[in-house]
């Protein structure tokens, strides 16, 4: 508040001298459409605009009619603005809930060139055409113009505010909280419920969408427990704030009810400030998990449907009271009050007390109730039994045309029409899990039907609109919820409160209105549109909504849905329950998308896993690549190298001629122990493993139950009942899950213990003819790693500088190679040691690119071949598959479609023109065939430039591939404009005899 000045109030023509919960000692400056105004802490943008006499705040969606402020809450359909500017621009912000701060800037939206003079309002003249569903009947002639002309025009007119053009600069976060009792809504009911629950020592969370607790207790003038109701709020609030087991979340909307008594809520931590403080998020998403929930969300007032009922200056009666009582603003000086119920009628008192002149109380009921009669007697207000048929005035209300029962019509000058059509309990959260509301004829409203588990509803949300019933209901519900959650009840007396009446006689629409009578103001749906929908057969509630777009706007039709349903019932001569009911979808009010993402955006979208050599590789200037969550070195460029290809080729050549080092720690590693480990692995892998000798490793493949390859890797046996397997990087988690599934569900009788050891070991491939020489300098000399003592596929536990380590003689590159593993904390030290020891041999580090090149040169399969649709036979591993034992995938792997000899099978390719480049994803077509789907014979899975061969090479799946060596086929790649002749060759491009690997 440092920037707020104390120079004075400015001119706020509609601000009352006293009253309300605003701080008149501080003045806040704000702008609306570039013009500066002043308000006070405690104001909303709407209350401040009203205080300044601003009534025109927006234009409607379709017809661009002038619109003002209808409500004082989150149900607002009309007063939508763009709040803030630049990267923080927030479109469609309801002025009625935007808290005022110094420097706030807001602009009206969906108008051009200006709000008062909106050229788009010509749409209003075309309104005879633009009725519900008109899109579907038109814009079809000629067909070509839909996308060229009509749709672009529609899209230009579409939308309300503009999203920001830049990344949201603020942060969001998520949090989880647990409660014995969650109370949603902090009006009189919710406060009473929270108080009753908290006194039992239950853990209570109380949420309210407003900054100030109290709801109706601060919006209306009443007495509770002998105090003015707003004083009672302060007393209860203080008690709750003192209790360490109570968490009060202000500015927090519980927007959705989900399974397991989980509620989504969004806390607008910083929206009342010009910008969030350092380290403070803009908003926080809460996942609230509650043993019991008390829904005390109150009720929303319904407008009345009459002519031009959308004119600025037509306002809900409850909102009029809120502006007077909470904000010290009188929204009009000459007022007509139009109601069908007693509560609406009592607005006369608030207006009179605020100094406004009530020119008439129009009550649609044929006979005034006792309450209304008493009101007329005490205030002397002119009471008319009849209806307002139309609001007068072009941009704002200048009068009301009133038709008394009996037919006399009178026009009265006024600047405000306060309307009340009754109240809709806010039961949205009761329907999120599928509960159907039930109609109550006495209240003329839907009440909660079957409730979500562990929820109770109290107060106005349950149909108890009267204050004393709300308080009693709140206390009862709060106590019961605490007891249900295991706490001992504490008796809480119900405070005495002002007597009220909720008598109502329905009036769903005024007959023969003077002007368009709007039902859904934001989406410009009129009573006539509902008639049209009925005429065209769109009578089901959902058809009505979808055809007319009723209830689909940012207010979700909170002020529209029940009126619409009742009008449809009237037209069709059915009862309201027969016509249907309205079921809400989350969120209760719109939620910023950023809040639902929280911390997880930009680089924090997903965690990043760093391999043990990361720091060292970064020092070397490695280029990294995202591999799943891992960040792996892709290649290690050296000064003077022109491009990645030169670097990778150098790395490959170094491995083939000398020695290279690659961090392969990301491969999944699983430790498997137990007396039945051998049997277990035999059932998981397609090849036999029981015969694997201790101290040896073997290549293995595993299938899904449908006979398709799932993963491959090595299986090493460290002891009779101790195996250590590797998986591909991509499938590390999936394989452990699969093994747990097999161990716990398929074969629980097998005694086997499975532990993921991926992260325990930093593991490096040391590959190339000089690899043994290098390792002999690193491995402690007590270990014999000569070819005799440590042959191909040998494994062993060793030490490196006294540190326990493991050595595996495995090769992915086809060269003599080892994998050496040390506990991960030594990973950084080991790579430095290996590079240092290898210097004399010309060692280089290599990344995933060179790794890939060398495996393609050797015809080893990897991700592109293990794509979830290939069988072992497809990729040349058919011979490995055991025919004797049971293993996952054994039976279904024999289905005819999987053993069809025409299936594409793995084979190698080289370009006929050796200078040609190959690309993965090209399809194979016989040399003389045309490239069509019928002639498609497979596709290239992996390609590389092979420095060892001096040209590009590829692996691919070709129909009957292994039978076609020597044949020349086309590799067609239309999306990259290539069509290359390739020769079918053996998939092993380097050392086909496999001598090098054994040394």
């Amino acid at each position: 508040m440092a920037t707020a000045d104390r120079r004075g109030n400015g001119r706020q023509p509609n601000r009352l001298e006293t009253g309300g919960l605003i701080d008149r000692s501080l003045t806040l400056h704000f702008t609306f459409d570039g013009k500066t105004y002043v308000g006070h802490p405690g104001d909303t943008l709407a209350s401040a605009l009203l205080a300044n006499g601003v009534r025109l705040t927006g234009r409607s969606f379709k017809y661009h009619r002038p619109r003002g402020i209808l409500s004082a809450g989150s149900e607002e359909p009309n007063a939508l603005v763009e709040l803030r500017a630049g990267a923080r621009r927030e479109p469609n912000t309801k002025a009625t809930v935007a808290e005022l701060f110094d420097g706030l800037a807001a602009a009206s939206q969906n108008r051009w060139p200006s709000l008062a003079f909106d050229l788009m309002s010509v749409n209003s003249l075309l309104s005879p055409i633009f009725v519900a569903g008109f899109y579907y009947k038109t814009f079809m002639w000629p067909a070509a113009l839909w996308e060229k002309l009509y749709e672009p025009l529609i899209r230009r007119a579409a939308g309300l505010g503009r999203a920001s053009d830049d990344s949201d600069p603020d942060t969001y976060e998520k949090a989880t909280a647990f409660a014995d009792v969650l109370v949603i809504g902090a009006g009189p009911t919710g406060l009473a419920a929270a108080q009753a629950a908290a006194r039992t020592s239950a853990r209570v969370i109380l949420v309210d969408e407003n900054a100030a607790l109290g709801g109706r207790a601060i919006d209306d003038v009443a007495e509770i427990g002998g105090n003015p109701s707003h004083e009672w709020v302060k007393i209860v609030e203080a008690e709750l704030d003192r209790n360490p087991e109570v968490r009060v979340l202000r500015r927090t909307t519980a927007f959705g009810c989900y399974d397991g008594s989980t509620y989504g809520a969004v806390e607008r931590v910083s929206d009342h400030l010009a910008r969030p403080g350092p380290g403070v998020p803009r908003q926080r998403l809460w996942r609230l998990v509650a043993k019991q929930v008390v829904l005390a969300t109150g009720a929303t007032e319904r407008p009345l449907v009459f002519g031009n009922n959308d004119r600025p200056g037509v306002m809900l009666a409850g909102a009029v009271r809120t502006y007077i009582n909470r904000f010290g603003v009188v929204p009009g000086r000459r007022v007509v009050v139009f109601t069908n119920n007693d509560y609406g009628a009592t607005t006369v008192t608030d207006l009179t007390n605020a100094g406004a002149e009530v020119v008439a109380l129009v009550d649609s009921r044929p006979q005034p109730t006792a309450e209304v009669q008493r009101l007329a007697d005490t205030t002397g207000v002119r009471l008319i039994s009849g209806v307002v048929t139309g609001a007068l005035g072009r941009q704002t209300v200048s009068g009301a045309r009133i038709r008394a029962h009996g037919g006399d019509t009178v026009e009265l000058t006024c600047d405000l029409i306060a309307v009340s059509g009754g109240w809709n309990p806010n039961i949205q959260l009761t329907t999120h899990l599928g509960g159907r509301p039930v109609w109550d004829d006495r209240l003329c409203a839907f009440l909660p039907g079957a409730l979500p588990p562990r929820m109770s509803v109290a107060g106005a949300a349950a149909g108890d609109l009267i204050l004393d019933k709300s308080l009693a209901g709140g206390i009862a519900a709060g106590s019961a919820a605490a007891t249900e959650s295991g706490h001992k009840a504490v008796a809480v007396p119900v405070p005495a409160s002002t007597a009220e009446s909720d008598a109502i006689t329905p009036l769903w629409r005024v007959a023969e209105p003077d002007g368009k009578a709007f039902v859904d103001q934001q989406n410009d749906v009129t009573a006539k549109d509902i008639e049209l929908a009925e005429r065209e057969g769109f009578r089901a509630v959902e058809h009505l909504k979808r055809y007319t777009t009723l209830g689909m706007a940012t207010d979700q039709g909170r002020t529209a849905n029940v009126n619409a349903l009742a009008i449809m019932a009237e037209i069709t001569g059915r009862s309201i329950p027969e016509t249907g009911c309205t079921v809400a979808r989350p969120p209760y009010t719109p939620v910023a998308l950023g809040a639902l993402a929280g911390h997880h955006r930009a680089k924090s979208f997903k965690p990043t896993r760093l391999p043990p050599s990361y720091r060292w590789a970064k020092e070397q200037g490695a280029v990294f690549v995202e591999t799943g969550l891992w960040l792996r070195p892709s290649y290690f460029p050296r000064p003077g190298e022109r491009d990645w290809l030169e670097t990778v080729s150098r790395e490959v050549t170094t491995v083939r001629n000398a020695v290279g080092i690659c961090d392969v720690s990301t491969l999944g590693k699983v430790d498997i122990q137990g007396p039945d480990a051998a049997t277990f692995l035999d059932r998981i892998y397609m090849n036999g493993l029981k015969t694997l000798a201790v101290g040896k490793a073997r290549y293995g493949g595993m299938l899904r139950e449908d006979g398709i390859l799932m993963d491959d890797g090595t299986v090493a046996r460290f002891g009779e009942s101790h195996y250590f397997i590797t998986t591909t990087t991509a499938n590390a988690v999936k394989v452990v899950q699969h093994m747990e599934y097999c161990a716990q569900w398929l074969w629980p009788e097998l005694d086997v213990q499975i532990v993921s050891a991926t992260e325990q070991w930093a593991q490096y491939a040391v590959a190339g003819p000089k690899s043994r020489a290098l390792l002999q300098k690193v491995v402690d000399p007590t270990f014999d790693i000569s070819d005799a003592g440590f042959p191909y596929l040998g494994i062993g536990e060793i030490t490196v500088g006294g540190i326990k380590a493991r050595l595996f003689r495995l090769s992915f590159s086809g060269e003599r190679a080892y994998e050496i593993g040390v506990p991960a904390r030594y990973g950084d030290a080991l790579i430095r040691r290996l590079m240092e020891a290898g210097a004399e041999f010309g060692v280089c580090a290599y990344g995933t690119e060179a790794l890939g090149v060398m495996r393609i040169e050797k015809g080893h399969i990897s991700g592109p071949e293990l794509n979830g649709t290939t069988t072992p036979r497809d990729v040349g591993l058919g011979g490995m598959v055991s025919t004797k034992k049971d293993f996952v995938g054994h039976v279904l792997g024999k289905r005819p479609g999987l053993v069809d000899p025409d299936r594409p099978a793995l084979i190698g390719f080289r370009p006929v023109d050796r200078s040609a480049r190959l690309r993965s994803g090209a399809h194979f077509i016989a040399r003389n065939a045309t490239p069509t789907a019928e002639n498609d014979e497979g596709y290239m899975t992996s390609v590389a430039y092979s420095p060892s061969n001096g040209h590009w090479i590829g692996l691919g799946l070709l129909k009957r591939g292994p039978e076609r060596i020597g044949e020349i086929v086309r590799a067609v790649d239309p999306v990259r404009g290539a069509d290359t002749l390739v020769e079918v060759v053996s998939p092993v491009f380097v050392d086909p005899e496999g001598g090098r690997v054994r040394g």
Binding site: D259, G260, Q737, E740, Q744, W745, L746, E749, V891
Partner: protein
């Protein structure tokens, strides 16, 4: 949705992975009608719109596989058992029934 893991207590949905029908049991690979049995086991589902027994994996928790009895129409969960216990209890029965 929240699932009460018998080992870890009640946890949110995002800790678990659903993995299909727990009412089907892997057939004997040596059965003369193994192919038909495996086809039915792997691909055919009753998929009822009411109470159902299904397999879940406590992926972000204790790594236990669980048999969850859940009403698929309402998401109400009536029991959660370790899959190992269910499987062991069911083993002889499967053999008898085969």
């Amino acid at each position: 949705m929240r699932i009460a893991c018998p080992h870890c207590g009640e946890r949110s949905l995002d800790e678990f992975l659903y993995s299909g029908d727990a009412t089907v049991r892997r057939p004997d690979f040596a059965s003369p009608t193994a192919m038909d049995e495996f086809i039915a086991y792997t691909f055919e589902r009753t998929n009822p719109a009411g109470p159902h027994r299904e397999l879940w994996y406590h992926a972000a928790g204790c790594h236990a596989w669980l048999v969850v009895t859940r009403n698929v129409a309402t998401h109400a969960i009536s029991s959660v058992e370790p899959a190992r216990d269910v499987a062991l209890a069911g083993k002889p029965e499967t053999k008898d029934g085969a």
